[in-house]
Subunit: 136 residues, 2 copies
């Protein structure tokens, strides 16, 4: 893990290793708050500021990426290989789409800008939302 951080130009400190470990061992999409809980679950203490700083640093260094689908919080994805997502608008659950999606008909970019990436989000909801809501 320290090697992985160094490969991305990140000085591997204790807290950064813990946070990277949390990100890469969970194969879910976590938000800052969840990371903070995981990292502080044993006994150690990593501050909120450090969790946020570190996640932003990881994004900047392209170790992980942000997924913006929930109006109230950012998800982080340890998988930086281009792929897309299902987002359950009722439960807030975010999952990977495994198949390869082809997009055609993309327009020419406005001049002066370059593309940074394409996000495809398939918004889904339970067939019987009452049930899903009752469970939650």
């Amino acid at each position: 893990m320290p090697t992985l951080l160094r490969q991305h130009g990140i000085n591997p400190t204790h807290q950064r290793i813990e946070i990277a470990y949390a990100m890469f061992s969970s194969h879910e999409h976590l938000c800052a708050d969840q990371i903070m809980t995981i990292v502080n679950s044993r006994y150690s203490e990593t501050s909120k500021a450090t969790v946020y700083n570190t996640l932003n640093l990881f994004v900047e260094k392209k170790l992980i990426r942000e997924v913006i689908v929930d109006p109230s919080k950012v998800f982080y994805d340890a998988n930086t290989i281009p792929h897309h997502h299902f987002y359950n608008v009722v439960s807030g659950e975010l999952t990977d789409i495994d198949s390869t999606i082809e997009i055609s008909g993309l327009p020419v970019l406005p001049s002066g800008v370059i593309a940074e990436g394409i996000d495809v989000i398939v918004r889904i909801r339970p067939q019987r939302p009452e049930i899903a809501e009752a469970v939650a």
Copy 2:
């Protein structure tokens, strides 16, 4: 405008008409805060709570739709015809993609869920970000 609201099952009150008017006369993507400014720019007073309640009501009644691209605020789109967006990650600007985009290779949905819609977001950034940042 009252007719449009009624067609969507919305009781047209003074505030709701003002907010709908703001949404439909601007051909940009506005956020709650901007709507509030517009609606209160003349002399009238519409409270924050009403702006948020009304926008949520409009979304629920499918008069407008939410666009989630910015980690800190929700944009609203008066155009409910399926279409996709450019999002300038540096300036925060959100614009429509005019061309028709075809998506193939979509997976089967997980069982028990139905699709609500598909969002394609092409994230863009200025070629020389330093300049764009300096301007902003």
